[in-house]
């Protein structure tokens, strides 16, 4: 019986005060004003360099390099287990890479920021499985997501201004949920939840949107509408869309990145990557 191993945990410093502590105000978690000063001088909003993530020896990401330009709409495709979701986890601060660098704009080091700080600095994320606040109404969901001061004190005193109400009404119109504004979000259909989550991203007004399989469970008409919506967003915002639906990818993307085994396999237009020998091999397993 090796008992010595257990003694170690008592000896090592039990916690590192500097770990994801952030600024002093953030350290108590009382929140802070939305981040400012996103610097995109060189036209790149997201820079991932040599990112590696390993889970117990399995390399989920392997020296990944990826650059997203300002206003770009980028699609990420790849077979299952290629590391798409892990990459999103790295960008949003949920998973810390073992190596590499991740920058938002030119100045914000994502590895030094907590998930909340990253969200406040302007990265919004839609999950693979739609997650909305089921006990709250559709309107309240949007109210919470809306870009504003999100500290505890502000929340205690918050009153919606007319301007904010108008913005929410406008987004409700866009995602076609105006008639369901007072319904609890838990009662929505799968497709409606998808739209609500997209709506929540819209009111959050982020610089970079990460969308994980946004059209899963939507009808063809809804998919088409979503494609239009995304195209209209591109330019003002940067988007990164992970999707399996090639039709959808083809309808929106000017630029496609193929991930395989944790690194970039191919990049270019959809036609280009579809013609790539290696991509065909990966997808068809030849």
């Amino acid at each position: 019986m090796r008992i010595t191993a257990t003694a170690e945990f008592m000896l090592e410093p039990a916690f590192d005060p500097n770990k994801d502590a952030g600024s002093s105000r953030d350290a108590i978690g009382l929140g802070q004003a939305a981040g400012t000063g996103l610097n995109t001088r060189h036209g790149t909003i997201l820079t991932l360099e040599d990112i590696s993530v390993s889970f117990d020896g399995f390399k989920a990401l392997n020296n990944l390099n990826l650059y997203i330009g300002v206003g770009e709409l980028r699609c990420i495709i790849g077979p299952n287990g290629a590391g798409k979701t892990t990459m999103m986890d790295v960008i949003t601060g949920k998973t810390r890479p073992s190596e590499g660098q991740a920058w938002f704009g030119e100045t914000l080091d994502l590895q030094q920021m907590s998930e909340v700080q990253i969200a406040q600095s302007g990265i919004g994320r839609k999950f693979q499985k739609p997650t909305v606040f089921e006990a709250l109404s559709v309107f309240e969901n949007l109210e919470l997501a809306q870009k504003t001061d999100k500290s505890v004190w502000a929340s205690l005193r918050a009153r919606l201004t007319g301007e904010q109400r108008d913005r929410i009404a406008e987004v409700l119109e866009t995602i076609r949920l105006s008639t369901s504004a007072r319904r609890p979000a838990g009662l929505l259909s799968h497709g409606q939840k998808q739209f609500l989550e997209i709506g929540m991203l819209l009111v959050q007004d982020p610089q970079l949107l990460l969308l994980d399989e946004p059209v899963a469970g939507m009808t063809d008409a809804e998919t088409e509408f979503t494609a239009e919506l995304f195209k209209s967003l591109a330019g003002k915002h940067s988007l990164m869309v992970v999707e399996h639906d090639m039709g959808f990818v083809g309808s929106i993307a000017d630029h496609v990145t193929v991930l395989h085994q944790g690194s970039v396999l191919a990049q270019g237009s959809l036609a280009q990557v579809q013609a790539d020998e290696r991509v065909i091999e990966v997808y068809l397993g030849r």
């Binding site: 953030d26 907590s114 994320r125 999950f127 606040f133 006990a135 109210e143």
Partner: protein
């Protein structure tokens, strides 16, 4: 007690009815202390026993409300609220001990042949400082514990287990004679509060009145919180903490705020409990007591404001009756209550009434 009235009335639902019933209950509660002052031969006289029992249950109701704020709204089931309740009670108890012993050391300290007061009890002869302690002791403990717990994202059952261990540790500490908390017997034999005799009808009535006021204030506070954006953030936190973080909210601050607030409310309830019941001992910190508070909330209906009050009233009313009538069977009943509530009443009695009302 007024539950039967409340039960039948809320069955008919409707906010107007609820408001009327609530108003009536409040009126009765406010009338009780006045009725207790009537001469003993009056038919309307309320006995000291009834008044004390009701006051005790009201204190528990405040605890239930405080627990509901963290459990029902923020989804953090605390099994350690008895600790905060007892800390408030001990702070008040020490003031009462000092009142009883005058310039001397409290009786239990002279009994242990101590010569001076431990530093942490300095100043407890002043009522205002004792009141500060009532708020500070549970508040600071909750702040420190919550800071570390929420920082490392302890939640769900882990959080429940840690809080239970916390109150258990507190109980062990307070059981010791050398820690200066009166050991096994705790604090008792109080004589006066602010110069008034503690058993006098007038004092009892005033304490009862203060308890009702605290309950009303907590209820108002809870109502305001639940209606504010803060309350909605808490609900969101309970259902999808990760989503909330990606919306840019820092869950730690929200949890910490409501957690500390809840602890302070418990401390205040404890401080009002002690002079009415006349004793505080480490048994109040036992994990059993804290987990019992969870069943009050669950029975009444968590996530509502009235539910916990109802639950605390019903369970404690039953307890008083059972422990007199069939002491052997109380634990069977309580155990069955835990099981039945979790299996068949996920939304509690209030949920049941609402459903009936809708039908």
């Amino acid at each position: 007690m007024n539950q039967p009235l409340l039960l039948t009335a809320t069955q008919k639902a409707g906010p107007a009815v609820t408001a009327t019933v609530g108003g009536l209950v409040l009126l009765v509660l406010l009338a009780l202390p006045l009725l207790s002052l009537l001469p003993a031969d009056s038919p309307f006289q309320v006995s000291a026993y009834t008044l004390t029992l009701t006051g005790k249950i009201l204190c528990y109701a405040i605890v239930a409300l405080a627990l509901d704020l963290v459990w029902g709204y923020a989804g953090l089931l605390s099994l350690g609220h008895g600790l905060f309740f007892a800390l408030g009670g001990y702070a008040m108890g020490m003031y009462l001990m000092r009142q009883a012993s005058g310039d001397e050391l409290p009786a239990f300290m002279t009994f242990l042949s101590w010569t001076e007061l431990p530093w942490y009890w300095t100043g407890t002869e002043h009522f205002w400082w004792a009141m500060c302690l009532v708020v500070l002791a549970p508040g600071l403990l909750a702040l420190v514990f919550g800071f570390f717990a929420f920082r490392s994202r302890i939640k769900g059952v882990y959080f429940s287990i840690m809080t239970q261990a916390l109150t258990f540790a507190g109980m062990l500490l307070f059981f010791r004679n050398e820690t200066g908390f009166g050991g096994n017997n705790g604090f008792t034999n109080f004589r006066s509060i602010l110069g008034f005799g503690i058993t006098e009808p007038g004092t009892r009535a005033a304490l009862f009145f203060a308890t009702v006021m605290l309950l009303v204030a907590s209820l108002f506070l809870g109502w305001r919180l639940a209606r504010s954006k803060f309350g909605r953030v808490l609900t969101a936190l309970r259902d999808a903490e990760n989503r909330l973080m990606f919306c840019g909210y820092d869950p730690r601050g929200f949890k910490l705020f409501v957690w500390v607030l809840s602890a302070v409310l418990c401390g205040l309830a404890g401080a009002l409990y002690v002079p009415q019941v006349g004793i505080i001992n480490p048994g109040e910190m036992s994990p059993t007591n804290s987990i019992e508070a969870a069943v009050w909330v669950a029975l009444g209906g968590r996530g509502t404001l009235i539910g916990p009050l109802l639950g605390a009233g019903v369970v404690n009313g039953m307890k008083s009756w059972f422990t007199v009538a069939f002491p052997e069977y109380w634990l069977f009943f309580l155990g069955a209550l835990f099981i039945v509530v979790t299996l068949y009443l996920p939304k509690g009695v209030i949920g049941l009434l609402k459903k009936r009302g809708e039908q």
